[in-house]
Symmetry: C2
Subunit: 136 residues, 2 copies
DNA sequence: CGCTTTGTAACGAATTTAGTTACATTTATA
DNA sequence: TATAAATGTAACTAAATTCGTTACAAAGCG
């Protein structure tokens, strides 16, 4: 089971989307997520580097950097998990065995396709749609 | 990143598929995966309960319970991860906040769709195809 | 200048992961 | 029937991961 960072990241963005053009502090967001503000700032840092939010030292609060219609859940996923693969593959299988020798390459191709299918679905969903579901 | 159990499970099944109608011991499989036989038997236990392999105490080795064409990678995934969700959702968001109140339900629907897309792709791939890739 | 907030490093407890030891149970066989 | 070999599973361990926390430098605002 994948960790809850994507979940919290989308929570952060939803909160910003629900306060358009207002700056919302990590303390306030932490109150909604019910966690420590540092947890929020850690994820916000990734979201900022990905160009999804704007924030800066000394200036309280963060803003969405783009309209919610222009933010897909895939962008959020990529911001949080970057180059990480969805599935890990066991390391060091026996190269003296024909299966062991080729299993990593083969599984990599299989898992890549499964991961891509998942990402395609995330790309179909926007933050704007998430907001609609939140308030429906 | 999801743990390497699916990876090892498919390795096990590939090895069994490459020795049709032969019983292959956990010790031998462990030699190919390069791990401890107990790790193999733990996963084999799940595969057996899912009806993918046959094995029994006192009888050395395991066999595929179905032809490789009849085993999809989704079946293997389900055998290993059962009811587990792909993404976790942070627990205890603030119910006093409209976002906090609805985020879990909303994310659950989103993540469910992403997970289903991934599973659909795994369902399209069979162990037989994996074997072809292994030897191509 | 003093207050508040961000950004980030560093640490800790709880959980997960993969490997290991141990052993009861079952079957085949000498 | 006794022995050997393998399975199935519980229990333990070290390492890694996850999430929360403390600490603090740097930045902006009144």
């Amino acid at each position: 089971m994948i960790n809850s960072r994507l979940s919290v990241a989308i929570h952060i963005l939803s909160l910003l989307a629900s306060h358009p053009r207002e700056r919302v502090t990590s303390e306030y967001i932490a109150g909604s997520v019910q966690t420590n503000p540092v947890v929020i700032r850690r994820l916000s840092s990734l979201l900022r580097k990905a160009g999804l939010i704007e924030s800066a030292p000394g200036i309280p609060g963060a803003l969405l950097a783009k309209p919610p219609e222009a933010i897909t859940l895939l962008e959020v996923y990529e911001a949080i998990f970057a180059e990480e693969n969805l599935f890990s593959i066991h390391s060091g299988p026996n190269p003296g065995c024909p299966i062991g020798q080729n299993i990593q390459r083969t599984l990599n191709a299989s898992f890549e396709r499964a991961e891509q299918a998942m990402k395609n679905e995330l790309a179909r969903q926007t933050l704007a749609e998430t907001m609609e579901h939140l308030f429906a």
